[in-house]
Symmetry: C2
Subunit: 346 residues, 2 copies
């Protein structure tokens, strides 16, 4: 009764192209988001904006917010993270300058942009948006289980943080290169910035988790593929709820297992072993078949960054033989990865 | 930086005993919460408070808020639901009267109590709390998977809404009657009102779902049982994420499968069949063994309300024979239910 009626909101949608904000950081590792954007959405990055003599650059030309606006930029994206996910006071004048120049601000940091009075005032003054990517859209429905038209691929993992986003991006690009119509569907912060839209699946209330995944990849043409970024792992006792809701709502036709052969234990959790690829395939098919009886494994994406070129090829061949599935590394590309791509949309 | 530091909040905790508020409803079916409270927390219900000539009563004496306060009541609980989960304007003067008399207000309705100005003002005037049970506590940690001391039982279901709360309450009561130390752990709104504490698991953000379940049943004495109210079903495409997070975080030693033999399809979802009891046992053991390798099924709680007494006994015996597990109905009690209880804490 007292809740105001809101228009139905779909996924988050970000005004693009971007100006990348690098703050005053001097360590590359804090600029992961900006590097991801430069790599995967380079055509959407008009320029870079740093404070003082920033030691880090991701490639695009350095410019002021006003210059970026004159070149068509719509949003400033905070492409760096400080420990704690905060916005240091020293960044505020630059962010206010960006708002006053006419840019919206996009942030994936823990702190809410609107909680900073100077930003709130400047945004209100210029009617600009403060977009926190960690906040999921309103009005997410409960999942219905209804089968949608079009094809879907989901990347799943033997654990967190071993290449699910990267693999999904590479597969979508490879599909498109072969003339297969495909969209990348983002489920995490960096992915959302790259795609310009998406839903932060880990921030959705549990009751609506599969409903959010259903909303993320709506009905589409029969030959169209949504390539969906996976989250967490069914074998991770912290995050399996996110993974299961995403699996049920995505109702994938095909999934690709992402694995890092050097990782033995679940990240950050003592006493939990990384499952075998076979266990992940088996459980994903069992649980995924609830909403798509035809679910199948398209192959395996191995993170082979700790191996030499020859060693990696040997590993792919051995694993492919053992599993009876194509195995490759999107970072290396080549024949093994081509075979994986072909086996997904066959 | 800008987020205020909050003291660590544990589960929701409700000031008791209660005055039950029945509003102006005339249909019993809208008073489900009040009936549940009268049945399962009768010793915490000082009295009933209705508007005008309410046609519904749940048992305790009718009285005003001031009388209830003089008898020791601490909170008024809204024990009725209107379609839409709203608070009609006609209820407001009565609720303000309760606040002014010194009672806190507890609500499980969809609308937030604090969104109603008259209630907000009265609460602030008398320093009373407006407690919305749908809001989970702050500062829920991410699940760690760490094994906790004490024993745990979780009720799971072949679907939603077929007796998981009732079964958990009955098992906790039966444990206590046998001198087995046990607490009921509530995960839904009515359960939380009955227990006086708990966490609304369906309202927790997915990333923290297993962490919330870990918080709900903390370390305990080795011979102590937490009997945890289940939510949803692993086979329900809308709510399986809630069920899996609750299973992983509860790390149950024993689970009891709740089933309604007359239900053929998942509630409200076309095309989804209710799974067999065996399927639920098998999948619960497979997924639950991630955080407790010793998980086992204690037996089956059948909702036999559509059967005659003799027919029900025959059904229990047949199912027990088929499954090799005790099968009973807590609503009927008797030997079959006793056998189920004994097999849980053996």
């Amino acid at each position: 009764m007292n809740a105001p009626m809101r228009p139905p909101q779909r996924t988050l949608s970000l005004p693009r192209p971007y100006l990348l904000f690098l703050g005053d950081i001097s360590e590359k590792s804090f600029a992961k988001t900006a590097y991801g954007l430069a790599d995967w959405a380079g055509d959407q990055c008009i320029g870079e904006f740093s404070l003082g003599e920033a030691a880090v650059t991701t490639g695009p030309p350095s410019m002021s917010p006003a210059q970026a606006v004159s070149l068509g930029a719509k949003s400033l994206v905070i492409g760096v993270a400080n420990p704690g996910g905060i916005i240091p006071g020293a960044w505020c004048p630059a962010l206010v300058e960006a708002l006053d120049a006419g840019l919206h601000i996009v942030s994936g940091l823990h702190v809410s942009l609107a909680s900073i009075p100077a930003l709130r005032e400047a945004a209100s003054r210029g009617k600009r948006r403060l977009i926190d990517i960690r906040r999921p859209p309103q009005n997410i429905p409960v999942g219905s289980g209804r089968k949608r038209s079009g094809k879907r691929l989901l990347t799943v993992g033997t654990d967190c943080a071993l290449g699910k986003k990267y693999t999904a991006l590479a597969l979508q690009r490879a599909f498109a290169a072969r003339g297969v119509p495909a969209d990348f569907r983002a489920t995490g912060q960096t992915g959302i910035m790259i795609a310009g839209s998406g839903i932060p699946m880990d921030a959705v209330v549990s009751d609506f988790e599969s409903g959010a995944a259903e909303m993320l990849s709506p009905d589409a043409a029969d030959d169209h593929w949504d390539v969906i970024e996976g989250q967490g792992s069914l074998f991770n006792p912290s995050y399996a709820a996110v993974s299961l809701g995403l699996l049920h709502g995505s109702q994938p036709d095909v999934f690709v297992v992402c694995h890092d052969p050097t990782r033995k234990n679940i990240l950050g959790l003592e006493g939990f072993k990384v499952p075998s690829i076979e266990e992940v395939i088996d459980l994903t098919i069992r649980l995924g078949s609830l909403t798509n009886a035809d679910i199948r494994c398209g192959g395996v994406s191995l993170n082979s960054s700790s191996f030499g070129a020859e060693e990696a090829q040997k590993l792919f061949a051995e694993e492919a033989e053992r599993l009876g599935l194509p195995v490759g590394d999107p970072m290396r590309g080549g024949e093994s990865f081509e075979a994986l791509v072909e086996n997904c949309f066959r």
